[in-house]
Amino acid sequence: MGAAIDSANAAPRALGKGEPIQLLCFTVNGRDYAVDVRMVREIRRWSDPTPLPDAPPFVRGVINLRGTIIPIYDLKERFGQGLTVAERYHVLIIVAEQDKLTGLVVDAVQDLAEIDRGTVQELSEIERRDDCFVEGVAVIDDRVTALLGIRSVVDFDEEV
């Protein structure tokens, strides 16, 4: 499986309220998440990454994506919920953020959903806590879905 999603190359521009956004919904450890579909480049089947020395546990390694080396982040571990015991049915969502590609390990991809920008609830400072990877919350198909901020996922300080 290597379905490529045709999305614009530019970074998503700021949207006004009332404009529809398209989201790709997926699950990690039983919970629902979504990302702006314009950031998604591809969805792939799980493949064993080559581990990187000294990397934090949520960086599982790197893979070869048609000649390009990209890192694979384990979202479950990133959220502090433990390492994904990767099975063949696990899925990699390849996202692009500011020209950098990253692969995210998720349990399963659900579908695409279109919602109104205005219905997204931004998290207030208080609510942020550890879930700072989440930029907002929306209800999709009666499920509370967290919108993921890619930059915060890939941003981490290295301790050498």
């Binding site: 080559t50 020395p53 000294d54 990397a55 790197v62 000649g67 080396i69 890192p71």
Partner: protein
């Protein structure tokens, strides 16, 4: 699509090459003095820059280039003496042209005050009487004639000037003949008949006429009889023809230059009364050979695909000129070149890289099948291997450029540094023609700049101190490039103070970078300056900046797969050597296995390998595991331990002796060696970040990713871990 915008981009692109030509020529003049070829080349470059500047409305640039060109013209005709003062002016004027071009690109680099000073200096040379070298004994002119002549030269005919208007320029091109040219006028008839491709190739007559306008009084007559049939009119084909009359003293070559972009896309007839009757007063100085447009336009032959425009297939042909005098090729014909989008080259390089990987898989499988019964296959695979190698080399050659591209802006840097520091500095370069991969070149710029800044700031002494030390008051920075045993070597040296070893060692120990009792050779000591957190600068000067230490420089170099080492001698100077790979994209490496992973060692770092017997290992305090190799103690670093790899080590491991820095070897312990391979280098940082001890990655034949190790980085990492370990030990208390 913005035709004007595209043409402008083409022009600006051409100016990059013209600037290079100008700077090279001026540098030659500085080195060799009055070199006719160099002066001529400089003249032509400024001339071409000026021409386009007019068409695109860069008035300041046009005016300045005009004065500059005039001075070069006089120098060329030996009317003014090309002494040190003039040479210095030429250098500074060339620098300013570069700044004005920067302005044209929107960079805001040009300094108004500086321009005023330079313009005045240039003008002084234009009103200078001929120097004492006996060129052109003109009859004494009376005052009126002299004023007319001076005004004509400065392009200020018929203009009432005030003192502040010096440098203002109207029409009235200074003919590129000698100063004896009378500023007489005549009317040149120009017949311009566009061909079917003129508009499609981005040449709009509007721009052409606009560029002609400053050359004199222009009258345009259009013939619209071709527009009678609107039903059969092709919107992309120009159906109008023109007859123009240009009254002025502009030279025919200047007029021809305006049409230089047109090439074969139009029929052009220039009827110049001056062709029959060469201006009389020029007799003492030989009339310049009729300038064939190809030579002037050589830097900018338009019918070539360029990156800025959509690809337009145009014939690369010299401009069509009727009644052209027999080609007196005053200069060598320009080499056939092609400007290609860098992206396309990169894609080509990548594809060839992929082919190389596939070919190596094929070779592996063919090897596994064995030659028996598969002779044809084996032969074909062998040929393919050879052909792939040749293909890779050929493609790599497309991406190489002479290192001059990086060196060329350094003389200016040194001049600026000399100004800022008040020291006398000289830059000597050698080996600029050495070819390097373009991607390497781009990443060389920063480290070279920094090293030169360092030399100017710290390494070299001021003139007084130098003379007191019995040295020439002018400090010399030497920059040389060459190729040796598959690597590019670039050396930056100065003949300054040198770096005192004791000071380095003391500082390193103070900062906890080495243990106090460490035994290090002088070379090892000096290379300590590359450690992170190290800086010998007593004060932070605003030239070298704060905190951009040698470790960053070394990082820059190792990032491109190279190595940097330093030698220094107190009182004599310091010398940095950069060893760089020939290309970034492909590398020879030794593959090895540690744990379940495959790693690649760059072959430039590998000295030898030996099988390790457990008994051979000795533990030495303060160092760790070692073995004895031909009587020398070799420190061991276990890749498994360093990278935290799983699994049990084999009974017999392999030690690869590698070189981290000049003279510093260690033994890298791996499970086994897998063979020598040519690998395609893939960036890890492009989509992730840099990883300590890893230079890059590569893709193996089976599609898996393998890390290419950074040997100095591994030594660094190990040392760092060890220091950390000691710190926690001490902190833990005992």
């Amino acid at each position: 699509m913005n035709d004007l915008g595209e043409l402008r981009q083409i022009y600006l692109g051409e100016c990059v090459e013209l600037m290079q030509q100008l700077e090279d020529s001026v540098a030659t003049i500085a080195d060799l003095g009055d070199d006719a070829e160099a002066v001529n080349a400089a003249f032509r470059a400024v001339h071409s820059i000026k021409g386009g500047a007019g068409a695109f409305g860069y008035e300041r640039l046009q005016r300045f280039a005009h004065s500059f060109e005039s001075v070069l013209g006089r120098a060329r005709e030996h009317e003014i003496l090309l002494d040190e003062a003039l040479t210095s002016l030429l250098q500074r004027a060339a620098d300013h042209v570069a700044d004005l071009l920067g302005d044209a690109r929107g960079e805001l680099t040009a300094d108004d005050a500086r321009e005023g000073i330079l313009a005045a200096e240039l003008l002084a040379y234009l009103s200078h009487e001929s120097g004492g070298d006996g060129a052109g004994e003109s009859a004494p002119e009376d005052l009126d004639d002299m004023v007319a002549r001076l005004l004509g030269e400065a392009g200020l005919d018929d203009e009432i000037i005030s003192d502040d208007d010096v440098g203002e320029e109207e029409s009235g091109e200074v003919a590129d003949q000698s100063a004896d040219q009378p500023s007489a006028e005549r009317t040149v008839g120009i017949t311009f008949i566009p061909g079917p491709d003129l508009l499609r190739n981005g040449n709009d007559p509007r721009l052409i006429f606009r560029a002609l306008d400053p050359l004199g009084d222009l009258t345009i007559e259009a013939d619209v009889s071709g527009l009678e049939d609107i039903d059969n009119l092709d919107p992309a084909v120009c159906a109008v023809t023109w007859s123009l009359a240009l009254r002025g003293s502009a030279s025919k070559s200047d007029i021809e230059d305006v049409f230089a972009f047109v090439g074969e896309d139009a029929a052009l007839l220039i009827d110049d009364p001056w062709d029959q009757e060469p201006p009389a007063a020029v007799a003492p100085v030989a009339p310049s050979p009729p300038r064939t447009v190809p030579t002037v336009a050589a830097p900018a032959p338009p019918p070539q695909p360029t990156a800025a425009t959509a690809p337009q297939p145009t014939p690369a042909a010299p401009p069509a000129k009727p009644a052209e005098p027999a080609p007196t090729k005053a200069t060598q014909p320009a080499a056939m070149t092609l400007r290609v989008d860098m992206d396309r080259v990169d894609r080509l390089v990548n594809m060839v890289g992929e082919i190389a990987i596939t070919q190596s898989v094929l070779a592996q499988e063919a090897g596994r099948l064995g030659a028996d019964g598969h002779e044809a296959l084996t032969r074909a695979v062998e040929e393919l291997t050879q052909q792939t190698r040749v293909l890779q080399e050929a493609v790599m050659a497309i991406r190489t450029q002479p290192v001059r591209a990086v060196f060329q802006k350094l003389p200016r840097l040194v001049r600026d540094l000399a100004d800022k520091t008040g020291k006398r500095l000289k830059l000597v370069t050698r080996g600029e023609e050495t070819e390097i991969d373009k991607t390497v070149i781009e990443r060389l710029s920063d480290p070279l700049t920094h090293l030169i800044r360092n030399a100017a700031d710290h390494g070299l002494e001021g003139p007084d101190e130098r003379m007191a030390a019995g040295k020439n008051p002018e400090g010399v920075i030497t920059l040389s490039a060459g190729q040796r045993s598959g690597r590019i070597l670039i050396e930056i040296g100065d003949d300054g103070r040198g770096i005192p070893h004791e000071k380095i060692l003391k500082k390193a120990v103070e900062k906890g970078l080495v243990p106090a009792n460490a035994q290090l050779s002088p070379d090892e000591i000096v290379n300590l300056i590359f450690l992170p957190g190290f800086s010998t600068a007593e004060q932070v000067s605003d030239i070298s900046g704060r905190g951009v230490g040698m470790d960053v420089v070394r990082q820059n170099i190792t990032d491109i797969g190279g190595r940097i080492t330093v030698r220094t001698e107190l009182g004599r100077g310091t010398n940095f050597t950069l060893a760089l790979p020939l290309t970034l994209a492909v590398m020879e490496g030794i593959a090895c296995r540690a744990g379940t992973q495959t790693f690649v060692l760059p072959i430039v770092s590998v000295i030898e390998s030996i099988r390790l017997t457990p008994q051979a290992t000795h533990q030495l305090t303060g160092i760790g595991d070692t073995i004895l190799l031909r009587g020398q103690t070799l420190k061991l670093i276990r890749l498994r331990t360093l990278f935290g790899l799983n699994g049990e080590p084999p009974d017999r491991e392999t030690v690869v002796v590698v070189e981290a820095d000049e003279g510093r070897h260690f033994g890298l312990v791996v499970d086994e060696l897998l063979g020598q391979y040519q690998v395609v280098v893939k960036s890890l940082e492009r989509h992730y970040r840099r990883v300590a001890g890893v230079a890059a990655a590569t893709i193996l034949g089976d599609g898996r990713v393998a890390m290419i190790l950074d040997i100095p980085g591994i030594a660094e990492l190990e040392r760092h871990r060890w220091m950390e370990g000691r710190r926690t030990q001490r902190a833990g208390g005992m």
